[in-house]
């Protein structure tokens, strides 16, 4: 069993010890946020000052961390991690995409007037709140800011649950889609009247856009492009710094999955993309794997009935029901181990950890701790 052998190495701990930044990626619903919290908890116990940034506003995590008022967009310290925390600290916060974007605008604008014109613009508000790729970009930006914050020596972040999670590695991509292409340049064309908004609006492409979305909406968009003018360079330099951090040696990407074909396929896809980008996977974590109860051979007749789908017949005696139960659970476990084999092969020799399905919900520090004990044996 290559899989079990590699868990025993426990080298997820190594990742927590050497990394400055840990990025958890994977598809939705696989437990990225919980994983990030558990990693943060372990790091704090190792004496590190760690901040966990989550994109998922799940109340459950806040509850589990003992934050009764929920996660906020500035780091909050988590208490009660247990006696051996020493100098370690754990902080947690939630990503606020719009506020982070506003902060960038404030940093790079020339004056208050420019800041006001941009922040109050409707097109900008849409872009900061909802444009695809913005969330990933702002997550990367937040990560960079926290990395340079003296309070912390490790940043753990979970990525948005989308295929675009790798936009993360391409932070300036979002911006350049806007700033580099010809629409922006057209909007910026100087006109004889000096009234750029009206000049640009006369361009055929903007006339057409205006016809579809209405002239008010178009005017807002053009006003944004003009207000933004001059800030491109600053934004781009910052984005380059962010990308450099994401590609830094001590930034570790951890791929998270559940033991099902679809999320494993997705995790394999992520791992390949990371490899192609020259980043590589530091570790893989498979959550909610059916636990093993021991190497016990189930009697052949029970085995045959269960795999034939006719479990009820064996339930005639109570011991029979117990054997059937074991056989059913083992059947699920073997199916799951087979499903995650492609991820094991692809990420070798990086460590892979299989975290068992727990017998209850994760709702407090103790249950997070239970997961931690499996991730860091």
């Amino acid at each position: 069993m290559t899989v079990d052998g590699r868990i025993a190495t426990g080298s997820m701990r190594d990742v927590v010890e050497y990394a400055d930044v840990i990025v958890c990626c994977g598809s939705g619903g696989v437990g990225k946020t919980t994983t990030a919290a558990v990693i943060g908890m372990d790091a704090a116990r190792l004496g590190r000052r760690v901040v966990v940034v989550t994109i998922d506003p799940a109340k459950r995590l806040a509850d589990a961390l003992g934050l009764t008022t929920g996660l906020s967009s500035s780091p909050q310290r988590i208490d009660g991690l247990g006696g051996d925390a020493g100098d370690g600290e754990m902080w947690a916060m939630m990503l606020d995409t719009a506020a982070t974007f506003d902060g960038l605008v404030r940093t790079h604008a020339d004056d208050e007037d420019q800041i006001d014109r941009i922040l109050s613009n409707r097109f900008y508000r849409n872009m900061a709140g909802a444009m695809s790729g913005t969330q990933e970009y702002m997550a990367a930006e937040t990560l960079h800011a926290l990395h340079n914050d003296d309070r912390f020596d490790l940043v753990v972040v979970d990525t948005p649950p989308s295929r675009n999670a790798l936009d993360f590695l391409d932070a300036p991509g979002v911006l350049s889609r806007f700033l580099d292409h010809r629409i922006f340049k057209l909007a910026m064309l100087p006109t004889r009247s000096g009234l750029k908004v009206f000049g640009a609006a006369a361009q055929p492409i903007f006339k057409a856009i205006g016809k579809v979305v209405g002239s008010d909406v178009l005017a807002d968009s053009l006003a944004f492009f003009q207000a933004f003018s001059g800030m491109e360079t600053g934004f781009r330099e910052r984005a380059d710094d962010v990308v450099a951090l994401l590609r830094a040696e001590r930034t570790a990407f951890v791929v998270v999955a559940s033991p099902r074909h679809d999320t494993i396929t997705e995790a394999v896809w992520f791992a390949r993309q990371l490899d192609d980008q020259g980043v590589g996977v530091a570790a893989a974590i498979v959550n909610r794997v059916q636990p093993a109860f021991g190497e016990i051979e189930v009697p052949a007749d029970v085995e045959a009935e269960v795999s034939g789908g006719g479990a009820e017949a064996t339930g005639v005696t109570e011991v029979g029901a117990l054997w059937t139960n074991l056989a059913e659970l083992q059947q699920i476990r073997s199916a799951e181990l087979a499903a995650l084999e492609p991820l094991v092969e692809l990420t070798e020799p990086a460590p892979i950890a299989l975290l068992p399905l727990l017998d209850g919900d994760i709702h407090d520090l103790d249950s997070l701790d239970q997961v931690a004990q499996h991730l860091f044996p």
Partner: protein, 302 residues
């Protein structure tokens, strides 16, 4: 439990299946579509964005009229813009740039265009039932709300009339309803209750029964005392007894959690519940979908 699960799940022309990532939205979409097709309905399944998983789960079966189409929001928006005079102009420009700009200037326009296409299929008369494998729960509200938002922002023109058509579709309980999918666990159940209220309050769409996916309906276990008695009576090694007991304790504890979640759902949402049982596999295939669809049909007859 709903009176007739299949009928209550397919009670409108368009059924939008929604739920958080990982709860089995696509599975439930496939089961509903297959069961309806087996019952003689002409079914169209619309898969939004995502990875095309439904082609594999819903292969052609003899005597059943079931079609799968894929709609991608950016593609639909591009097509829409081309139909509205952009083709000529956009040729020389970066196409994604134009689409990005329109999408950002009027957020939700891509959702409107997609819902507009859903409406076209519904109105075509070619299908008795349209099942939409909808967006993740968080996005479901904004997806279905896009029409309201745009109708407020855009005062006239083609987008406005499209939004009005979509609003009409969403508000009509005979034409459209939403089916929420969840797992029998605390967090998904809590989120489902929140989403259900948001959909009802904000969008005003009719809600069908809640589908609880992956319910453990495996072998019955004796209670704790029964386990002890049975193990004592049986002639087994201590190690074996330990394993059997641990497995039984684990399963019972998981089931207790499921029951608690199902109760909480029943109390939190006065809607019917339809359960889809967990299969002992790491991902369903087309045969599994057929089997679950047959079970849904059988349950609806009894």
């Amino acid at each position: 439990m709903s009176e007739n699960p299949l009928r209550s799940l397919t009670a409108a022309n368009v059924v939008v299946v929604a739920g958080k990532g990982g709860v089995g939205k696509t599975t439930v979409t496939a089961v509903i579509a297959r069961a309806a097709a087996r019952s003689g309905e002409r079914v169209l399944v619309i898969e939004l964005d995502g990875k095309p998983a439904l082609d594999e789960l819903l292969p052609d079966r003899a005597g059943e009229a079931l079609t799968v189409v894929h709609l991608s929001a950016p593609d639909a928006l591009e097509e829409y813009l081309n139909d509205h005079g952009f083709r000529r102009i956009a040729k020389r420009l970066n196409r994604t740039g134009v689409i990005d700009m329109v999408g950002t200037a009027a957020p939700g326009i891509d959702d409107i265009v997609v819902l507009g296409k859903v409406k076209q299929y519904e109105r075509s008369g070619e299908y008795d039932l349209v099942v939409v494998d909808g967006p993740a729960a968080g996005h479901a509200v904004s997806f279905l709300m896009s029409a309201t938002g745009l109708a407020d922002a855009v005062r006239g023109g083609p987008v406005r009339s499209q939004a009005d058509d979509v609003l009409e579709l969403l508000a009509d309980p005979d034409r459209c309803m939403a089916v929420l999918v969840t797992l029998p666990e605390t967090t998904p159940v809590n989120e489902t209750i929140e989403t259900a209220y948001a959909l009802e309050d904000v969008v005003g769409i009719r809600l069908g029964p809640i589908v609880v996916n992956g319910v453990d309906q495996g072998t019955d276990l004796p209670d704790e005392g029964g386990v002890d008695a049975a193990l004592q009576a049986a002639d087994l090694d201590d190690a074996v007894i330990e394993v059997l007991r641990a497995a039984a304790t684990f399963r019972r504890s998981r089931r207790a959690m499921e029951c608690e979640a199902l109760d909480r759902l029943a109390v939190g949402l006065p809607l019917g519940q339809v359960q889809v049982r967990a299969l002992p596999v790491a991902g369903l295939d087309a045969d599994d979908i057929d089997a679950l669809a047959d079970e849904l049909i059988a349950e609806s007859r009894s």
